[in-house]
Symmetry: C5
Subunit: 272 residues, 5 copies
């Protein structure tokens, strides 16, 4: 029995360590690297000042924000900043650690009964809720129903977040086009001196440039990043759902393991 | 027991207060702010009059309305104005208040039986219908079936509203392009005096500008706003559906609470 | 009992009246108004003859028809004209009249048994089929299965119609672009006399203009109109499906009413 | 009894006749008519030779083929030619003939038992498989499961075919744009003699023209044509699925007829 | 009995042979052929050096990579290279070989019981897992549930791979546009000498060219290739799922064969 407990302690330790929120290094590299690339390629041909146009920046950024405010409630839009920060951190739970914990809980259930789980210190709130419901003697069907609501409602809440960034990703280029149209109309109306056409048009095109950069280096990749993180969280929650179902129905840990490792790739399964 | 009733009174009070239709401040800021931004950025380069072209405005706005009239019945298109006004108000029910009320009703049912709910003053019409059906002794399955029809038919009705704005959001830029094509063809046919090319083209581009502004500062964000409000209403209705199901099946209030709080985010759950 | 029969007669009368196919006034206004708008805005700047180019019109209209012939069978494409005419008429059944009739039939069933429905004159063919199957003693599950096939197959048949107009709505602008490319290539090859560039390009742009007008004032809104009418018909058929199910299972009319009014908006329910 | 058999013979005869693969006249008219239209509209303004550019044609056609080869296995791409030929022929089974045959088989089953079907000559392979499984005494659920796999796998196989043409329909215009970009870059680099700009640009635009014509007169309509044929085949297979289910469960032919005619439009039902 | 075993040995042999990972010749031809085509069509008009612009290439390739890094975790993006290599190889299992093996296993089960499968050497890991669970005496429903998780989780993992290439396929042209905008703005600002306009614009257009080539000759077709391979793998896994279900339920091999051959096209069935 000792070995079991030791094993558990060991992975609980590693669980806690890995849960320490990690900076998502790729996101940071990507966003800094992307802007550095653009700045460098500008500097190869001109000074950076040629690409700075405060009114143009205002209309693209401001217009995108205004359009987003129409689309969503104030607190959700303000919350979007917080959501965007999520894209820079990686606090997803490792599926294999969760699986190990569930198997150890299933083993304990088989040996000491469901009530033995009551004093277990389960960190993952979703797993904790499932275990508590099982310990309370709720029917497995009822537990599954409740946990499914939990998954669906988490996905829906997160999707509201992605939607804002997707919306910004389509609105920013449109605002860029609106800015360019304003510049073009003003330029064309007073086309007396042909030598001013070039510089005026250069300024007009800057808003299109801002819109494209914002959309393709900020909003769209962040929207996809968040969607990917939700998919990951969903997998972990589905693992927990299946595991708790197995525990509540009193299945043998090897059966539960068979079922849960099906969520992992062939390679990860063999490694463990 | 006193405490329970007091608690209930207290939240009923707050429920009534919060139900007072609130102006959706973000939508108002967004639409006013958006137009102010565009006007300011025009004024930085020219007078506003350079961007006013009544025939151009007529073809974009009129063409979009005509296309929408082909698409939908007269009363639905007229109703769209009313629907658009909805986007400026926030009369959504707070999920946690609804959950509190359902739990209190579940508690009452456990103590005094289903018939005790008959005299309860339930404001939310959907919850009221569900409770009434439960009191009338309808089978839980039958209640769920009826409430699901209600959700689906509400969503379908609302979607007909969003569709009009989405349709306008794609039609307005197309009408802008049609207006610009008319202007370009007229300009190109009589290209005798090169000095008139600029101003003529400036006027031709205005319809494209109108189409883009209408689509990205009015129609598209309003369509998304309405879709978001429908999603919110759907969540509240799903909470009620699950709650009424629990009440009709005589479940314990703590079980119902477990199930219903699953619709809320982790944070909101702890706050309560 | 007299009152009941009177009520029924009264709504049967109004049912017949309303079934008289009505012109869908919005569609007619939209399509005429749209073209008037475009013609007026052309006349403000030039004569209408500048926008008439028979070969250009031929390539856009003809090319779209040819592409559609490749896509679908001859009789379906010819039938599309008939389908388009549907968009101009409103022969949808009013959901509340259907609900009233179903409730009256349910009442009759409770009083006189299912066989009493045999001599009822039910006009709606789908309702008539459902009632006949119930009278014939078919199992409710079997009736539902048959009626669901009916709904799905109606929706699929109608969707084939919408698809043709959606296809035309994407093909017409493409044909317009092809026409413009032909004109541009011919103009550019013989660009000896700069004074002819303008008029040649004006002519080349006309096909793009035709394609956009056809797509956004004819094909796309008609496709959406037909899709909306299918949605409406689907709701009526779902009401009938639920009503016939209730009648076949011998449910009380008030229960059926509860279920069927769930398909209506809150407002329409109270009005009745 | 004689009448029944005569009836059957008669429709089997017509079945065989109609099964003779017919040329899909609309597809042939569409593709020839489309190219004639484009050639005529070219001839109105210049000779056809101005629109022939072998290298341009090579990059659009070749590039599209190469991209498609990356996307799919060699035998599937080669098979796509065969699939495209399908679009020119109409060998779909008429739903009403299949329904008549199923009803006659159901009648025979009621009179002589399931085993009587053993010697029936059923031509449609899918119906034959279903009947054979019923005669073999397989459970109706098992038959339905097997036939559903058959439908899904046919649809998936056909969809792989449509996908190739849809892919070509989006890749061809892109290859056209790549060709035009190559031409533009070469023209702009050596822009010494302004008189050569026009003709060079005319040539550059030809690839865009080729890409658009291929996409909108060949690939896209063929993709839609094949999708429509798959939908038709799916309806016939669903009719057979329902019919075989009825026969296997020993339902009365009038019940089966009620169920199967639900797949047809109101008009076709009455005609028969 | 001898014949059976011989047959089995024979196909096991061919199975092993065919499993040898084959180069997907079409993908290799497509990617090399595509680039050769583009290079040849460039050489027809100018030297290749006119199309090489290192900073432009850097901004398109680098920007696409940076954007992708924001979107996904570092190890997933690095893994994408490995995933891309998959597109060049064909290691899919032949459905008919898998079917033959399942039928032979089913036959063995009918003759010698489920436990006889224990010593069978099953290579396909998914089939092996299913067989092992059946031998272990798991309920068929439980086996199906576990195998379905396996399919869904494989599809989800693979889709994460496709998504990266689809994302790159939309980001690369956007980065190309950003590069062109930078070049245009720099050119327009210093438009003093008209003779430099052409060459500058030629260079500016190169990034658009790079973006289009990368998207339509590399990223998009690879994304579709991987999606197609996943579909194929899914079919094989569904065949195994159905086969293991049949074996676990002790069905006769001819029944299993009927069910599994439904996954194949009519032609492949007859050939075998």
């Amino acid at each position: 029995m000792q070995t079991d407990i030791n094993l558990k302690d060991e992975f609980f330790e590693s669980y806690r360590k890995r849960r320490l929120i990690k900076l998502d290094i790729a996101t940071v590299i990507g966003i800094i690297g992307g802007f550095v690339l653009i700045i460098v390629s500008i500097l190869l041909g001109s000074s950076i000042s040629a690409f700075i146009n405060i009114p143009g920046l205002l209309i693209v950024v401001g217009g995108t924000i205004m359009s987003t405010l129409i689309m969503q409630k104030l607190n959700v839009v303000l919350g979007a900043v917080k959501v965007a920060i999520k894209a820079f951190f990686d606090k997803s739970d490792s599926p294999d650690i969760i699986i190990k914990q569930i198997i150890s809980l299933a083993e304990m259930t088989r040996k000491q009964g469901l009530l033995a789980l009551e004093n277990e210190n389960v960190e993952h709130p979703y797993l904790a809720k499932g275990i508590r419901m099982a310990v309370d003697g709720m029917e497995p069907e009822e537990i599954i129903r409740t946990l499914k609501i939990e998954i669906n409602s988490l996905v829906e809440r997160h999707e509201a977040g992605h939607k804002i960034f997707k919306f910004m990703g389509t609105t920013a280029p449109a605002m860029g086009m609106i800015g360019t149209l304003i510049g073009l109309v003003q330029m064309l109306r007073t086309m007396s001196d042909p030598s001013t056409i070039g510089p005026s048009m250069a300024v007009a095109l800057l808003t299109t440039f801002y819109g494209a950069v914002l959309a393709f280096l900020v909003f769209n990749p962040i929207a996809e990043n968040l969607a990917g993180k939700t998919d990951q969280e969903k997998i972990v929650m589905n693992i927990i759902l299946n595991g708790v179902d197995g525990i509540a129905r009193g299945l043998h840990q090897s059966l539960i393991k068979d079922s849960l490792t099906s969520f992992l790739s062939q390679k990860k399964r063999n490694l463990r």
